[in-house]
């Protein structure tokens, strides 16, 4: 059994897409451990399997084989509804394309994950999260009225509003200019300094130093581990 201070323990995970001749092994015998409170950057070229890794880490998809323990629980064999509960209660996502709903104001977007766990006081929790990312003066703005950096910060607020164990960011600065990237990375670093576990997936060497540790993925395999 994995040690208790481990938040994430991947044990020779393999993910195969398709079947027969067209089968693609996006991850092969992939093992990784992430401690609680750690920040990790996952780097690798396009097509190396980073997004596949993120989907499995985020409980958005299940591995073809191997075991995945999340906070001591084996989540590799959960059904869709159980995975939805894990995502809702323990994981916050930040996507490259922000993934905000265009018709909802900033705080309504931040409120979304709370709708699926029936919490009261959703507005004040959302406002608190927006305050943490420095957007308390933009709560009623729609995504279209915000800059790219501000939109990504709304998305970060949405990721942390549920007080998750893990924040997973897939190319969070991929669609941002340098200045906005710096803002967003500063927010992420701050969250980690407050003790939150963070995994950033990126192919941008400028981003990786934000994390304490960097791992490289190539052809679906872990190739080296570098301490920051």
């Amino acid at each position: 059994m994995p040690a208790s201070e481990e938040l994430i323990h991947l044990d020779s995970i393999t993910k195969v897409y398709g079947a027969g001749d067209g089968a693609v092994a996006a991850l092969q015998e992939f093992s990784l451990t992430v401690a609680s409170g750690e920040s990790l950057a996952v780097m690798g070229p396009s097509g190396s399997g980073k997004s596949t890794l993120m989907n499995i880490l985020g409980c958005l998809d299940t591995p073809t084989s191997g075991r995945y323990w999340f906070a001591g629980q084996d989540v590799s064999r959960l059904n869709e509804t159980e995975l939805a509960h894990v995502r809702n209660r323990r994981i916050g996502f930040v996507f490259q394309q922000f993934q905000l709903l265009p018709k909802l104001s900033a705080w309504r977007n931040v409120e979304l994950p709370l709708l699926y766990r029936n919490v009261r006081d959703r507005r004040s929790l959302a406002l608190q999260a927006l305050d943490q990312v420095g957007l308390s003066n933009r709560v009623d703005h729609r995504p279209s009225q915000l800059s790219g950096g501000q939109q990504q910060r709304v998305a970060i607020a949405r990721a942390l509003v549920t007080n998750p164990d893990l924040i997973l960011a897939d190319e969070p600065t991929g669609n941002l200019d340098t200045a906005s990237s710096r803002d967003v990375l500063a927010v992420i670093r701050e969250l980690n300094e407050q003790g939150r576990t963070i995994i950033i997936i990126t192919h941008d060497p400028e981003v990786a130093p934000v994390a304490q540790r960097t791992v490289h993925v190539r052809d679906g395999r872990l190739v080296e581990q570098v301490a920051a």
């Binding site: 958005l60 869709e80 509804t81 939805a84 509960h85 995502r87 709903l101 994950p113 709708l115 699926y116």
Partner: protein, 402 residues
């Protein structure tokens, strides 16, 4: 997600596509309104047919010439004039027909009546003094002609109020029917229009006079009244027995006459209107079904359009059940709204049509409830498939869809 929040989210999405939602709603609206209006019109015509027929009295029998039982052989009802005055005398025999009250033979045609001031064409019936009772009519002024008038071929006439006012004639005046002078001895009390034409526009003369001077020898129909509503069955059997005798028929299946009771007429008429109502309502129900398919179509479009939103919601923790509920409720809201507006439209039709056109509409609670219920069920059924699609979308596929 709470039900209230699900409804709020659904409303937001429906309002986000206002025109589309309105058009989808219209499909259900017309379906529901059509069901309510057609059933309402059917109900009204059934009611009025029933009212007309029961107003004629439930103890009445009509004997007509010809047989409907073996129509192929005898050539259909009324094809041959097999009824005679001898039949009438037989039916009037109190010994063999104790349950038959009044008997009135009728021969009828259209004729022009000329008064001193006007000329008016109407239905002229030749009959006997039994006419009043067997038609459940009463005299308004003057008198009806009596048995003696019939025996003596008196040239007397009783007219309806419409006929009287069109002719400008009253009791005591002389009018001409086919150049033959008749004295008006009575004017019938009015009954108003009952749908079978204007029952106040008619004239009645002694049948003997009619046979000799106007329409020739036959008897077209014989109207009977049973002594009470309770004896109608035995009156029927007596009439049948007497006519078989006077027509020298030993086999009842060879009967060259047909006896109908008002109850038979009533149930036939009700069956006909009911069939028509069901037919019309089925057509309307099909339009409801088409409306339901419209809802399904729009919900499928909505699921496709919102694939990435569905993926995001799933990533944030929405379960398949949450998404299923979301889309079923949206479909349900579209149809419920269409159903309610359809009821309003149906009621409006029920209010306007009787005033604009001369068509009665009777709206009762049952078809309204059924139409709305069916609309909502249709919406839910047709919403289920799109909702299942939404619930089954894999979050990673859905997120990639952008």
């Amino acid at each position: 997600m709470s039900l209230l929040k699900t409804i709020e989210t659904g409303l937001r999405s429906l309002l986000g596509h206002r025109l589309r939602s309105v058009l989808t709603t219209l499909g259900i609206l017309f379906g529901v309104a059509a069901v309510i209006a057609t059933v309402g019109i059917g109900q009204a015509s059934s009611d009025s047919v029933t009212a007309r027929i029961t107003s004629l009295g439930t103890n009445l029998l009509t004997i007509s010439a010809g047989s409907t039982v073996s129509a192929g052989v005898f050539g259909g009802a009324g094809s041959a004039n097999t009824l005679t005055m001898a039949d009438v005398r037989g039916l009037q025999d109190k010994v063999s027909a104790p349950d038959i009250g009044a008997v009135a033979p009728v021969t009828q045609g259209r004729a022009s009546i000329v008064s001193s001031s006007a000329n008016w064409s109407t239905t002229v019936s030749g009959s006997t003094d039994g006419w009043l009772v067997t038609n459940t009519r009463t005299i308004g002024s003057g008198t009806f002609f009596n048995a003696n008038d019939v025996a003596t071929r008196a040239q007397v006439i009783v007219i309806g109020t419409t006929t009287a006012s069109n002719l400008g004639a009253g009791v005591g005046d002389i009018v001409l029917v086919k150049q033959i002078p008749f004295q008006v001895v009575g004017v019938l009390a009015p009954v108003g229009s009952q749908g079978f034409g204007n029952q106040d526009d008619l004239a009645v003369i002694p049948i003997t006079t009619a046979q000799d001077e106007l329409f020739g020898g036959g008897v077209q129909r014989i109207l009977l009244s049973a002594t009470s509503a309770g004896t109608i069955g035995s009156a029927y059997l007596e009439a049948n027995q007497i006519l078989l005798q006077t027509h020298h028929l030993s086999d009842p299946s060879q009967a060259d006459f047909t006896i109908t009771t008002q109850t038979q007429v009533l149930s036939t008429a009700q069956a006909v209107t009911q069939t028509l109502t069901i037919l019309l309502a089925s057509v309307a129900a099909i339009s409801l079904l088409v409306g339901g398919i419209g809802v399904m179509n729009i919900m499928l479009v909505s699921v496709t359009e919102r694939t990435s939103e569905i993926g995001l919601r799933k990533a944030l923790g929405a379960t398949p059940v949450d998404l299923f509920r979301q889309f079923v409720i949206e479909a349900g809201m579209l149809t419920a709204l269409g159903g309610l507006l359809g009821v309003a439209t149906g009621l409006a039709v029920g209010y306007i049509v009787p005033r604009a056109a001369n068509i009665a509409v009777t709206i009762t609670a049952l078809p309204v409830l059924v139409a709305v219920g069916v609309a909502v069920v249709v919406g839910l059924i047709f919403g289920v498939y799109p909702a299942l699609r939404a619930a089954r979308l894999a979050p990673i596929e859905a997120l990639r869809a952008q």
